[in-house]
Symmetry: C2
Subunit: 356 residues, 2 copies
Amino acid sequence: MLRKTGRATIKEVASVVGVSTQTVSRVINQRPDVSPETRKRVQDAIERLNYQPSALARSLIRQRSFTLGVVTAGLNLYGPSRTLNGITSSAEEAGYSLLLKELPDFAENNIVPIFQMLLAHQVDGMIWAVPEVGDNRNWVNRLPLNLDIPIVYLTMPSRENTYIVSINNYLGGRMAMTHLIDQGYKHIAHISGPLDWWEARERMAAWKDILKETGREVQDNHWARGNWSSESGVQAFEKLNEQYPEMDAIFVGNDQMAMGVLQLACQRGLRIPDKLGVVGFDNITESAYFWPPLTTIQQDQIKMGKIAVEEVIKVIEANWQGLEPIEPKSIMLTPALIVRQSSLRKRGKGGEFGKE
Amino acid sequence: MLRKTGRATIKEVASVVGVSTQTVSRVINQRPDVSPETRKRVQDAIERLNYQPSALARSLIRQRSFTLGVVTAGLNLYGPSRTLNGITSSAEEAGYSLLLKELPDFAENNIVPIFQMLLAHQVDGMIWAVPEVGDNRNWVNRLPLNLDIPIVYLTMPSRENTYIVSINNYLGGRMAMTHLIDQGYKHIAHISGPLDWWEARERMAAWKDILKETGREVQDNHWARGNWSSESGVQAFEKLNEQYPEMDAIFVGNDQMAMGVLQLACQRGLRIPDKLGVVGFDNITESAYFWPPLTTIQQDQIKMGKIAVEEVIKVIEANWQGLEPIEPKSIMLTPALIVRQSSLRKRGKGGEFGKE
DNA sequence: CTGAAAGCGCTAACAC
DNA sequence: GTGTTAGCGCTTTCAG
C-alpha cells in the first residue's frame, strides 16, 4: 500500500503558514480579499511544498470539472487523428482537460456505457468526433440520460436542436467535378466510399448533380463503390474500365482509393492526366507525392476539431455564467480544391499548376 | 446556473429504498454482505433512477482514479496516432479511463505543467508516448515532483530504473540492409531522419554497421539527411545522385521520404528496382500502393501502445495490492521486413515477392 | 447483515 | 481580512 500520495494538501499548506485552509483557498483562486503579506506567505509555502490543488476535489465541490469528453473512432486513420489533433490543441489553449474514448467501430451504436463513463467523470461537455455512419446517430434526439451538458457532433448533416461542426463534403464534390469539367474531360466516372457513410453520399451526390447540370447522363455503370482503401480503389477502377470504356476522368471518393487508381494506371501505362484525369478527396499528406501528384479536395480536419472545442466551451461558459443560452446550430466549413498534375490536361493555359 | 446535475446520488438511491447509503455502496461494489432481497431492491432503484456512482467522489476517497495520463505529440502523424490507437483499446479493455495531453512539439521540455495537471487529476499511472528527440528525456531521472505513480516511456533506449517499451529500430535497419545486400545491390546509400531523433540514429547506425560488416566503406557522401517529409526525401535523393553516382540502392529512413525518392525516380524514368533498389521504414498504409510498391520495415505501433498500457497497469496493480513491486525494465519489440517490388531485383528466384 | 460517524481535499456562505 | 461551519458524493472504520 504505497498509496498515500506524496502531494501536499491544502490543510498542510494552511498549517505550515498558520492560517486557515480558507485563506489558502482564496490565494490559489486569486481572490482579492487577502492581505498582500498573507498572500505572499501562502504563495511561498505553496512553492516550497510543491502544492497543487486536487482537480478531483475541486470538480466535486464546484460541480464543474473543466474536462471535456472526447469520443472518437478509427484513430489510426488520417481524418480522425487530425481532428483529435485540433481538439487537443484547442482544449489546451482554453485550459480544459480531455477524457478520451475511442469506439471500436465507426458504426458502434452501444453508446450508453460511453455516456455513463463520461458522465461519471463529470465532464462539462462532450465532443462526438465520430462521423455519421449507418444509423450511428439514431439516438441523438433521444439521449439515454437527460443530460445537462452540451454535446458537439462532428461530420453529420444539420439537425434540429443539435450542435454540429462539419466540412461541406457536397461542396467539395462540386469543386472536384467542376474542375474536371473545366479541364475538358467529358466522361467522368465516380468511385464512391461506402454509402452508409454520410460523407460518401454527399460526395457522390455532387458527382450526380454536376453531371446533370452539365447535361450529362448519370448511369449506374458510371460509378463503382469502394471501401476507402487503396485496394478497393484498384478493384473499382478495374470494374469501371470494363463497364465504362469511354471514361476519361474519375472523381474518386478519397485519396487512398485514388492512389490505387494511380498505381494501376501507372502499371498499365495509362497516361495521367492525358488519357485519364483523376481527382481525389482529403488531401492526405502523401497525395502531393503520388505519381503524378494528385489533385484533391482539402478538408481542414484540424480546424474542425478546434472549432468543435471552441463551440462546446462557449456553450458551457454561457450556461455557467447564466448568460443567454447559445442556440444549437450547424457550422459548415468550406473545403478547398488543390490542383496538381493528375487532372491538369490544359497545361498550355499555364499558371494553374500548383494553384491552391 | 443550470448546474445541478440531473444525475442521481447515492443518497437519493438510499432514501428511495429506505436503507443507508452504506448499503447502497455495498451493492454497487458487489460486496457479499448484503441480504439478497435488500440487494435486489437497491439494484432496482439504481436501475430506475439511472444511478451511476460519481467517479470523482470515488477517486477522491479511494485515492485511486483508474485513470491513466497519456502524453503524446504529433498526433497528426502516422506513428503517434497508431500508438494512441493501441493505448485506447488496451485501456478500454482494462477498464481504465484516459486523460490525454498532446505536446505542441516533440522536443518539448517544459514538462512541469503537464505533470502538475495529470497529478492534480490523480492519475494512477502515465504513458509518455513521445519518442526521444533531442534532450527531451533529460529530466527522466530527476522528476520534478516525487511521484508515487509509474510512468512507462515509449521509444527510447533502455535506461536504469525506467519502464520503457520501444521497437527495435536498429534491428529493423539491419533487416532492411541485409535484404538489399541479399538482392545483390552493391552501393547502398542512406537517407536519414533528423539525427536528434533516437530512431533516426538507430536506423543509421544499422546502415553503417552492415556496410562495415560486409566490407564496404562508409563515406560521408553516401548519406544525406532528411526531416521525415517527402519533400526532404526528394532533396536528399537529388543530393545523393550528385554525390554518389555509383549508388544502386537506398535505405531510406521512413516511408514518406522513400515516397519522395520514388516520385523523383519515376519522373526521371529511373527504373526501380533494376537501376535503384529502395527500402523504406514504417510500413505506412500507403506504402503498398506507391509505384512501385515499397519494401519497408513494419513497426507495430498499435502493439507498442497496448503493451505500454498493460505494463503500467501491472505496476499499478502490484503496487496497490501490496505485491512484490515490479522492477523497471525495457521491452523491445521486433519489427518485420515487408518485401515488395521496390527492392526486388532477383525476380528470377521467385517466391519472394509478397513474402513478409 | 446493517447503520452511524468520520473524512477524502476542497470551496461557499456566513460570521467576526 | 480571516476563520468557522457545512457539505460535494462517496467509502472506510467500527458498532450493533
